[in-house]
């Protein structure tokens, strides 16, 4: 259940942004293959941790970024399936793994007006 610690960090980070931007409705995160994030477990943990915070009821989108490798024999770069790892071109199993994608909170969508509009309104108070 390393997903619980991830959920806690996500809720803390999104709540911090919510103080500036209002009610969050959707967040996108991404992860690599080696952190073995289970979507159901993380979503469940996120929902539980979010209860009673500004993140309650929001949607979490999880993108899994594939692990890439370079074949040492034919130099082809390919997406690795670690359970049957072979170069798709020359079938060699000698390859260099590229760094796994980090656990990243990429984007948050908030309810309400755009920031730009908000700023414009503040610049021109009471002119309507």
């Amino acid at each position: 259940m390393h997903e619980m610690a991830m959920a806690q960090s996500l809720v803390a980070a999104i709540s911090e942004e919510a103080r500036k931007h209002g009610k969050p409705i959707r967040a996108k995160m991404s992860c690599g293959m080696l952190n073995v994030v289970n979507d159901d477990v993380l979503s469940f943990a996120f929902e539980a941790v979010a209860r009673g915070t500004p993140c309650e009821g929001m949607q979490l989108l999880i993108e899994h970024k594939p692990l890439q490798a370079k074949c040492r024999a034919c130099k082809r770069v390919f997406t690795v399936d670690l359970s049957s790892a072979k170069c798709p071109d020359c079938a060699a199993d000698d390859f260099e793994l590229f760094p796994d994608a980090p656990l990243l909170l990429e984007q948050i969508e908030f309810e309400g007006i755009d920031d730009d509009e908000g700023e414009r309104r503040q610049e021109n108070p009471g002119r309507e």
């Binding site: 390393h2 610690a5 942004e17 995160m29 080696l34 390859f95 793994l97 990429e106 309400g112």
Partner: protein, 220 residues
């Protein structure tokens, strides 16, 4: 609707503490290894044997992580090495903040090498950096030779692999364990991983492991 691009590492709070830990360790000239394995692979037995055999040549301290009890720290202290027990009360991995608290309780000035024995689990601990110089994965032969294929993350990230309890292979126990398969699967994930087949019980293979540890300290 407002979209905000955050681009923030999800475990950044943990990574901040990990950085503090590695700075603290460097200040005191300590090398630190994070030991990760399934429960029951023999991490504590390996550490007890290593500490005893290296008495007088390497000054070792230990941080123990367990869900419950301080049984492991007591086993380490019986060797006269200092040990701090972290009880995670259910958490499946150690965090860098917990390790920071434990490091501050160890007499770092009198030590050269710190082992962190993580909570027994091949999955969760591998995602949490603790500020260590490297991870060491332990696999005992009774667990089966398919573990590098099934749990690639930790084998891809480790500096060394200790294949423990090899006395069971030569001792006539009915265990199907192909060491060559483990070597091939681990090296496919991690070209530079050092592999040491050992028995913490009989001492077989331990001298190669000690040689590697001395090398990590710059001692010949």
């Amino acid at each position: 609707m407002t979209k905000v691009n955050v681009g923030r590492k999800i475990l950044d709070a943990n990574e901040k503490y990990a950085l503090r830990n590695s700075e603290l360790l460097a200040q005191h000239r300590n090398r630190c290894f994070n030991m990760i394995s399934s429960p029951g692979s023999g991490k504590t037995t390996l550490l007890v044997r290593t500490i005893s055999d290296l008495t007088g040549s390497v000054r070792i301290g230990v941080i123990e992580g367990d869900i419950r009890t301080d049984l492991d720290a007591r086993r380490i202290r019986a060797t006269n090495a200092p040990a701090i027990q972290i009880i995670t009360e259910g958490a499946c991995h150690l965090s860098a903040a917990q390790v920071n608290g434990a490091l501050k309780k160890l007499p770092l000035d009198n030590l050269e090498m710190i082992f962190i024995e993580n909570v027994g689990n091949l999955v969760c601990p591998s995602s949490f950096e603790l500020g260590e110089d490297g991870k060491i994965v332990v696999l005992s032969v009774a667990e089966g030779d398919d573990k590098p294929a099934k749990y690639p993350g930790i084998f891809a990230k480790s500096k060394a692999l200790l294949v423990n309890k090899i006395d069971l292979l030569t001792g006539g126990a009915l265990i199907d364990f192909d060491l060559e398969r483990v070597r091939a699967d681990a090296r496919r994930l991690n070209k530079s991983i050092e592999i040491f087949p050992v028995s913490a019980k009989t001492g077989e293979g331990m001298s190669a492991w000690y040689g590697w540890l001395h090398g990590q300290l710059g001692k010949a």
